[in-house]
Point group: C2
């Protein structure tokens, strides 16, 4: 319950974000620096994300499993790039059961290594392939500069791990899961993400190629919202993941991994939120419809409450997530503001006049003021509400897409133009050779790196001159400041 | 895929258990001693447990949240009994991000302390009460003698944590959640648990009173399958969880906690399993119906496969969890044995004769051989299968209840009789004063302690002489060997 609103986005975006997360009870800081507490409203939003993804994973043939939190330190060292990438971020258990451990245990920062160990045991023949596994888990990467949901030492995520007989199969899986992420982001979270390949500098430690979905936040910074990696045979060779093929010869597997975390909650907040607070996409909103009963006297109260209970019951029965705000001693106006801040897509008001007229008032979170308010009949209410939830879902996606597209710029004026675009908090699309030196120069000049080489290239089949070094570039890449 | 069966229960129960868990692909050992890998089939069973509990938690007004994995070492020390109980079992992180930590972080063995810290922040007024929170998480208690699902260093569980204005409310919650566990165990897992109060010696470190559901395994050992604790004001005082009551006075809250873990999977295995392997209760079985197509030639294959696909599709549509075993080069007989071992409640066979006669053969896992097999029409198949799944669910509960009741004995021949009963691997019900000395004596003489004072006392209102010391006893308790 909060009397005050949030800092406006335009005034201080970063403060707006922290305000929204805390005042809407999504999450809070914890006594352990770097860790966060996910409060029920935030966890329910995460449950929506989990549900949407888990359904898609199962529909594409994956099965959930669970692997140990602790990984022997020696495991990480088996893949050279992997250990180099993760070493600085590890939390290490050195004492167990009151005794110093002979081999320290690492708290998993990701599970390629321990799952690689298991795959080596589980896979014998080509008949065991593909092996398609997913894990829902917590992971830890040492980090003290906390930003709730965006950057925390411990976070929740899913990590998919698969093994295949051929590189072609592994690459197909990598792209399929990137597509699953994009489908979820676009259709459930209403976030118009861009799918693309990361540059060599930005790829996962141990991968041959990394792909991501990139989202544009309301401050026009980029947020990497999910990644999918083609791991080649790197982990297969490090962990001896082998199979006998159809000609009975021993081969190394080709593996993939892909992950999406509680960061997605941050992406939802920063894609849709406005000066009043959250705006949650109906498919993921913990509460889709909040009902505010309105009455001034005990005489009015009875029939209003009765109507509210009947209508809320019918909506619940139909699978709509409804909350009746029956808090006493709070004015309807206070409640309207409160639920607006909490981003509930649709508000339903029921007063004595509505009881008399067999109507209710519906107010859309995505259309402010009178324009978003209308009176509808109590008959056929479920259908009317479903229709509006669908319309809100579509409108949030459309608004976010228009916002994104208005801030994407194909760079035509050379390197200076690229830097100007990035510094102006826009995304620049430019020919890029992919070299580390070039990426480093942009980093120094504009505190930004490439986001991705988008799968959908604007000039397919063409080549160009790298906007940074002038060398040959086969693809264009997005450059932008990022979370 | 396993060619060999499991060691018979009667021959070596412990070996039977390990065989079943590994050969049916429920779980496996991990490279980290004490930790386990939950394989997909085991994890799907756990997902069934989670689903059944989560629905019940939400229906009783609880909301899920998530708290940090790491707890400052100093937190545990705030509640004297708590730290004493858990200190020997802790895993401790001393290195983070490459540096020695100033204050070591404990990997949560349970979360009363860190949630207590949060509750202190979240609760101000009596209007914030009751606060009803649940967390699904992994916890770590140092333990190197691994028994898959039963005793592992890391395990998955849920832990409920609630705060109330009065002791009466807290106790009511404690008993409500014990009842929720019993309802789940009996109706979903088909395990006829006994609800009771633990002795002072056996209660949770930091609780005023602990309650549990106790289940009898097929080797007649007891397994504590879930616990619910009345924490009094112990944690409220340690963490300053206070609220202003209706007269505006500051009061300490009364808190509870309750937990159920992946141990429940072990309970399901050891309650229902037989010499052939698992027998899974239909409500929780990852696969409720396995379909085995039977054909000898390509001519027969076409119509059989077509029928199988049509029927399996209709069952799936109706929400039945179906798996079609279309593995090639494996005989139907091999498949029958394999799925029998994996405990699938119902097997459906479809051969050329069934296609011709518009029938299928159904074989129940709980009734061996011909007695459990029948031919039913393809018309109305969904209803026929639902009916049989319900019958299997009921039969497993009935068999387990009869088994349990035949091994419960009210001790009438004094202490020697109690020891004889326990040593004979039976459960003895006897008057017990609850004293630590008495419990210790039984432990020394029979390697067993009291399981619980059952809520349903056989002689309500009466008192008796403690079977151990002869002193006054207000209640009878069960004594048995336990996991």
């Amino acid at each position: 319950m909060s009397q005050q609103g949030v800092t406006p986005q335009s005034e201080d975006f970063s403060k707006w974000y922290t305000d929204v997360v805390q005042k809407t009870d999504l999450a809070d800081y914890s006594p352990v620096r770097g860790c966060m507490i996910i409060k029920p409203y935030g966890y329910e939003l995460w449950e929506g994300v989990k549900g949407g993804l888990d359904r898609r994973f199962k529909a594409t043939g994956h099965r959930n499993a669970y692997f140990p939190l602790f990984i022997p330190e020696s495991f990480l060292k088996k893949e050279a790039e992997h250990v180099e990438g993760f070493s600085p971020e590890l939390a290490v258990v050195t004492i167990g059961g009151g005794k110093q451990l002979e081999e320290p245990l690492v708290v998993r920062p990701t599970s390629e290594t321990i799952i690689g160990w298991a795959f080596q045991k589980w896979i014998q023949s080509h008949r065991d392939l593909p092996l398609l596994i997913n894990q829902w888990a917590n992971v830890v990467r040492w980090e003290l500069r906390t930003r709730l949901f965006l950057r925390t030492m411990e976070f929740l995520w899913q990590e998919g791990h698969t093994a295949h007989a051929t590189h072609e199969d592994a690459l197909e899986e990598t792209m399929r899961m990137l597509g699953v992420y994009a489908d979820f982001a676009i259709n459930d979270a209403a976030i118009p993400v861009i799918q693309g390949r990361k540059s060599s500098q930005e790829r996962f430690a141990g991968a041959n190629a990394s792909f991501s979905i990139e989202a544009m936040m309301r401050d026009r910074k980029a947020l990497q919202a999910g990644t999918s990696h083609d791991l080649g045979q790197n982990f297969a060779k490090a962990f001896e993941i082998q199979f006998t093929d159809e000609s009975n010869e021993l081969q190394y597997c080709w593996t993939t991994s892909w992950g999406l975390s509680t960061r997605m909650v941050g992406a939802i907040i920063m894609t849709h939120g406005d000066d009043q607070g959250l705006r949650l996409p109906p498919r993921l909103a913990p509460i889709q419809v909040v009902v505010v009963p309105i009455f001034r006297s005990d005489d009015e109260r009875g029939p209003v409450v009765e109507t509210v209970e009947r209508l809320a019951g019918a909506l619940r029965e139909a699978g709509v997530r409804v909350h009746v705000d029956d808090r006493e001693n709070l004015s309807p106006g206070f409640k309207f503001n409160d639920w607006e801040m909490r981003g509930v897509p649709l508000r339903m008001e029921v007063g004595p006049k509505d009881v008399a007229k067999n109507s209710v008032a519906l107010a859309r979170r995505d259309i402010p003021g009178k324009a978003g308010k209308e009176f509808v009949s109590q008959d056929g209410l479920v259908a009317a509400i479903r229709e509006r939830l669908d319309a809100i879902q579509a409108n949030l996606l459309q608004q976010a897409t228009e916002f994104r597209d208005s801030h994407l710029h194909e760079v035509t004026g050379g390197y200076d133009d690229l830097i100007r675009v990035i510094k102006g908090d826009e995304w620049g699309l430019a020919w890029f050779c992919g070299a580390a030196d070039c990426e480093q120069r942009v980093k120094e000049d504009a505190q930004a790196v490439s986001r991705c080489f988008p799968l959908e290239q604007p000039h397919p089949g063409e080549t160009g001159a790298c906007v940074i070094c002038g060398g040959e570039a086969k693809e264009m890449a997005y450059f932008a400041k990022a979370y």
